[in-house]
């Protein structure tokens, strides 16, 4: 590490159990964040500040004024700018020491494997079941650790996967049918509560990359902002899981067309 890096990352380096080794691992790590929205904003800011050496940030949307209530990486003057580029700009300003790769495109069954393969840890910060299942499936197939999270209204949930641990399909085998899912513009979301969950995701990434602590694997954590209840539930990897079980039926990536938050969101 250069003297400047030693100064910049001093509060990590002096942390018991983290040290220069932990920081060096972060500097050599590559993390992909899919989604630069409510979850992705704090996640990207913290991982950039933490000195994750390479961060990919993917989002096909552009910044709109209704995003600014929670997507704190974007500023008012960014309205109309692709979110991936707006996010990259802030991340580089927080920390010019890192490399940021912006993907202003949708992550699809076609491009997911080539992009994901380049990274050590993947973070699902998307706003649709379609993307969550796609990322889950692609990461399990490629043997990549990842963290997946979701939030609706006042309550969120988060789980981490490393090869061999329970996957999202062990918990929720398939996405719910379209007519049972409310859209984002119908239910709303508390901005600061999304931030809490996105920040938890950043911490999970740092832990897996540096090897400190124990990640949120074989478990799901739920957070209810109204009652301030954090609850952790144990999950056994499901031997009959259609993706990670012994006789999987999901063996290649599929597109899920239904994307609730891509509807009725244009102002």
């Amino acid at each position: 590490m250069t003297p400047e890096q030693k100064r910049r990352y001093n509060r990590h380096i002096i942390l018991d159990g983290f040290g220069s080794e932990g920081q060096q691992r972060l500097l050599e790590s590559k993390v992909l964040i899919v989604g630069a929205g409510g979850l992705g904003s704090p996640c990207a800011l913290y991982l950039a500040a933490a000195g994750v050496g390479t961060i990919g940030i993917a989002d096909a949307d552009t910044v709109s004024i209704s995003n600014l209530q929670r997507q704190v990486i974007h500023f008012s003057e960014d309205a109309g700018t692709p979110k991936a580029l707006s996010a990259k700009d802030k991340m580089q300003r927080i920390n010019p020491d890192i490399r940021v790769e912006a993907y202003p495109t949708f992550i699809t069954a076609e491009n997911a494997p080539d992009i994901i393969r380049q990274y050590d840890f993947i973070i699902d910060c998307t706003d649709s079941f379609a993307s969550k299942y796609l990322i889950n499936d692609a990461c399990v197939m490629l043997g990549k650790p990842f963290c997946i999270a979701g939030i609706v209204a006042y309550s969120g949930q988060i789980m981490t996967h490393v090869p061999g641990s329970a996957c999202y399909r062990c918990l929720f085998p398939a996405p719910p049918p379209e007519n049972e899912v409310q859209t984002c513009s119908m239910v709303g979301v508390l901005g600061s509560a999304v931030g809490t969950v996105g920040t938890l995701q950043a911490t999970e990434a740092i832990k897996v990359l540096t090897g400190i602590g124990s990640p949120l694997t074989n478990a799901i954590l739920t957070y209810d902002a109204l009652t301030v209840q954090f609850q952790r539930f144990d999950i056994q990897p499901n031997p009959n899981c259609m993706l990670c079980g012994s006789h999987p039926s999901v063996t290649e990536l599929q597109e899920y067309s239904f994307q609730p938050c891509r509807k009725n969101t244009k102002e």
């Binding site: 409510g38 706003d127 609706v152 918990l171 929720f172 799901i220 739920t222 009652t227 009959n240 938050c261």
Partner: protein
Amino acid sequence: MAKRIVINNEARETEAQFIQQLAAELDLPERGVALAVNNKIVPRATWPDTAISEGDSITIIKAAFGG
């Protein structure tokens, strides 16, 4: 005999013997929900054989898509 249980932090009585019966009682959808008994997720395939005991704390977790 009715058992006193807690569902998502609310006290409730049920006649259901097994989780499968409780799920029917609650009209839980086929997809997009997971269920935990005393902080352990119970896979749907084992709902018919998972007995409910007096005092069980049951949590229904809905998959959240937002971000």
